[in-house]
């Protein structure tokens, strides 16, 4: 079920709000779990059992690790818990990728399994794994209440597209959390902003990208419009979803971590990844990069560590070589920034270092959205006029004019300009206008939904 859908907004959400707030405190987690499973079942009936299996393995692994803490069995149960999660993820997400590569390398023809990717498997698997590792490390106690652990993993606000919430961040709230008008209203407004980012900005920009793909009159300018539109599309799509998840979390008394912090204003690739999909970056840092030694090792080993982490980051986004290349592309720039140009970037005027980052970032997302490795050359080449395409066509100018306001609004919205402007308005005024602004956005979003067609979130495939 999509957050940006009529069934979610006008059937599921009212129902869960009503039942949740009527239910006594001790049953609130059970209510959330029930509705979360229904939420998942609505989109993936057959894979609901798979998710419950993953939760059960983590639950058992956590208890057994604690039971055998200090013995070698704890390590065995750690590997069972982590390995089971990785095995499920590997099978459902990467089996066909591996088979296709084996077929290509060895000239064999193992039939592809063509398994549908369970929605959100990358997110809930990473949450389950982090829980098992945290219990093993002694960072948290094992959860004895199955409902509480299942609620943590399956919690519908962040179940299918993040942010990747650590168990340690919400363990206390799973046990006891407060529900205040302040938290609810901040969550409601945050949810509305996320909904508007998705429906009013990300979806139309996605349509522009589709128009570009279907166009027979591509031009250099159209390639650049597409590249910029896609960067903004994926940012508003994903950060909009994160806003909705964080907002819903607050409505139900949880405080989830932030996932984006205006990544497009970064002045280096290093900074970009501190601001983009922060929950994924910190997950790989804490559970892969640092356990491998991080940067406190020899230079060749450090380079190897970076190579592994960024290859995995790329693969996490999708089972295709262009995602691997996308990850390694960032690894390349992170390495040269650390070794050579990082200090130069800091000395440069901010505008120049931002242009540097934006150029690298735009190319990266063109690689990301290319149709496999074969599509990368055509898409990146098109930005520089490869293939003798014209600089501009009538069609390009039409779509530039048609989407100009939206593109400008999206560019401004991807920077802290609006936030800064709002912070300068006196609280008296913001207190008065916040509710009308929220209602206007909700009416507009509903109008776009009623008129529009099905438009799934990008990050559901990860």
């Amino acid at each position: 079920m999509l957050f940006s859908s009529i069934p979610f907004l006008f059937y599921f959400l009212p129902a869960v709000l009503l039942v949740y707030y009527i239910a006594p405190g001790k049953f609130k987690n059970a209510v959330l779990l029930f509705f979360s499973l229904f939420f998942y079942f609505w989109g993936e009936p057959k894979y609901t059992l798979l998710m419950l299996t993953s939760i059960t393995i983590s639950y058992a692994a956590g208890l057994l690790i604690e039971r055998f803490r200090g013995t070698r069995y704890a390590r065995v149960f750690l590997w069972i818990g982590v390995g089971a999660g990785l095995l499920l993820l590997g099978f459902f997400k990467y089996a066909d990728f591996m088979i296709a590569n084996l077929n290509g390398i060895f000239g064999i023809s193992i039939p592809l399994l063509r398994i549908a990717l369970p929605i959100g498997i990358s997110f809930y698997t990473f949450q389950s794994i982090s829980y098992v590792i945290d219990v093993y490390r002694g960072d948290t106690e094992a959860q004895r209440n199955y409902i509480d652990l299942a609620t943590y993993v399956a919690l519908f606000p962040q179940l299918i597209a993040g942010p990747i919430v650590r168990y340690t961040d919400v363990a206390a709230e799973l046990k006891q959390r407060s529900h205040t008008a302040e938290l609810f209203s901040s969550g409601a407004f945050r949810f509305t902003v996320g909904l508007a980012k998705k429906i009013l900005i990300a979806n139309p920009l996605g349509e522009l990208c589709d128009i570009f793909r279907e166009s027979n009159e591509k031009s250099v300018l159209f390639f650049w419009i597409y590249a910029i539109a896609f960067c903004l599309h994926i940012y508003f799509d994903f950060s909009g979803y994160s806003d909705m998840a964080i907002g819903l979390g607050r409505i139900f008394g949880f405080r989830f971590i932030e996932n984006f912090n205006y990544p497009f204003i970064s002045t280096s690739v290093t900074e970009f990844w501190r601001r983009w999909h922060m929950s994924l970056g910190s997950w790989f840092r804490d559970y892969v990069y640092i356990p491998m030694g991080g940067n406190r090792v020899s230079t060749p080993r450090w380079l190897f560590n970076l190579f592994v982490v960024w290859m995995l980051t790329g693969l996490w986004h999708g089972a295709d070589w262009n995602f691997v290349l996308w990850g390694l592309y960032f690894a390349f720039f992170l390495i040269i920034e650390k070794l050579w140009i990082g200090k130069i970037l800091k000395k440069l005027p901010r505008v120049l270092s931002r242009v540097y980052l934006l150029f690298i970032m735009i190319i990266s997302f063109v690689i990301f959205n290319a149709n496999g490795l074969g599509g990368i050359a055509g898409d990146v080449g098109g930005l520089f006029g490869a293939g003798g395409i014209p600089l501009v066509t009538t069609e390009t100018l039409y779509y530039l004019r048609s989407y100009a306001v939206l593109l400008i609004a999206a560019i401004i919205g991807s920077t802290p300009v609006v936030k800064t402007a709002v912070s300068k308005i006196t609280p008296k005024i913001t207190n008065v206008v916040i509710a009308p602004v929220m209602l206007v956005l909700l009416v507009l979003c509903t109008a776009y939904l009623v008129d529009g067609s099905f438009n799934p979130f990008l990050y559901f495939r990860f």
Binding site: P14, L17, P45, E182, V405, A409, I434, V450
Partner: protein
Amino acid sequence: MKIKNYVVTVCFLVFFLGGALLCLLHSPQEYSTSERRKLKQFPKITTETVLNTKFMSEFETYTLDQFPFRDAFRTVKAIAHYYVFGQKDNNDVYLAGDSVSKLEYPLRPELITSAGQKFETLYNTHFKDTGANVFAAVIPDKNYFLAAQNGYPSIDYDELLRLFRESTPDFKHIDLFDALTIDQYYRTDTHWKQECLSGVVDVLAGGMNIADRLTWDYVENKVEAPFYGVYYGQAALPMAPDTLTYLTNPILDGCTVYNYETGKTTGIYDMEQLTGDDPYEVFLSGAAALLTIENPACTDGRELVVFRDSFGSSIVPLLVPAYSKITLVDIRYVDSTYLPNLVDLSTADDVLFLYSAMVLNQSNMLK
């Protein structure tokens, strides 16, 4: 601060809980007049449709189709789309002056050629050896007059005509493009106005050598009820309606129209359609696969066969005085290979292929 929190919380809850209540209390509608389509009804729920998620996807369509105040929300969206976000079209529908049209872009050369080849096959099958005169005319759609002039992408109409003529070498082509202006089309609909077609009829009659058999002697009958064309509903914007006018004279009044699908015989104009969902269907009862118009006022036995789309419904009556019998075929609704089983085409003196540029560019709908 505290009041703000309560106000926001209450507004949020009222919006969604109130919206949910309205959704539950709203009586499902069968049909959308503005969009001219049936609306989705509550889907069938079985174990199978739940497990294969068919129920879920159909339920989503149901909730969209049956949303309370749906048309009002569509209007809000259209206004925001055009006037807040400055987008030039909304679901491909655009406004140019006081007229509304739908983008037809890009040119699909293979479909133009395919349409021509299909017509050429019909000619070779039915008319090549009969001695019938075969004519073809392309009707420019509204985009020809509005798109490029208002900065919208426009297909290359010269190329369209070239491709069509190249693929129909045995036809005599009649150029209608110079006989039309945008004022001859309804503002809110895709079609042309019957009362404005005297120039087009002159050009056609000249090309088909029937000018001496036609006169422009008609009574204009204005329909009192406002005419909201097909683009009105799609645009979802407030705009003034058109006025629908149909032409009559004693010759047309004496004609009978036989519909092969329904088996019914009616007149040229089906007055019941004026109160229906699409008043343009007053002309020859609207979409029909196969019709025959019998004109008792013409006794020389001349016959015309017209392969046509919906534009033909309003102009063919104006060719009636020149013929004893006119057969209208719409191969969007009948497989052209079945025609010999349904009607005898071998007695035609003249054959006219009359299609709008829009249909030629989407000719995969031709059977």
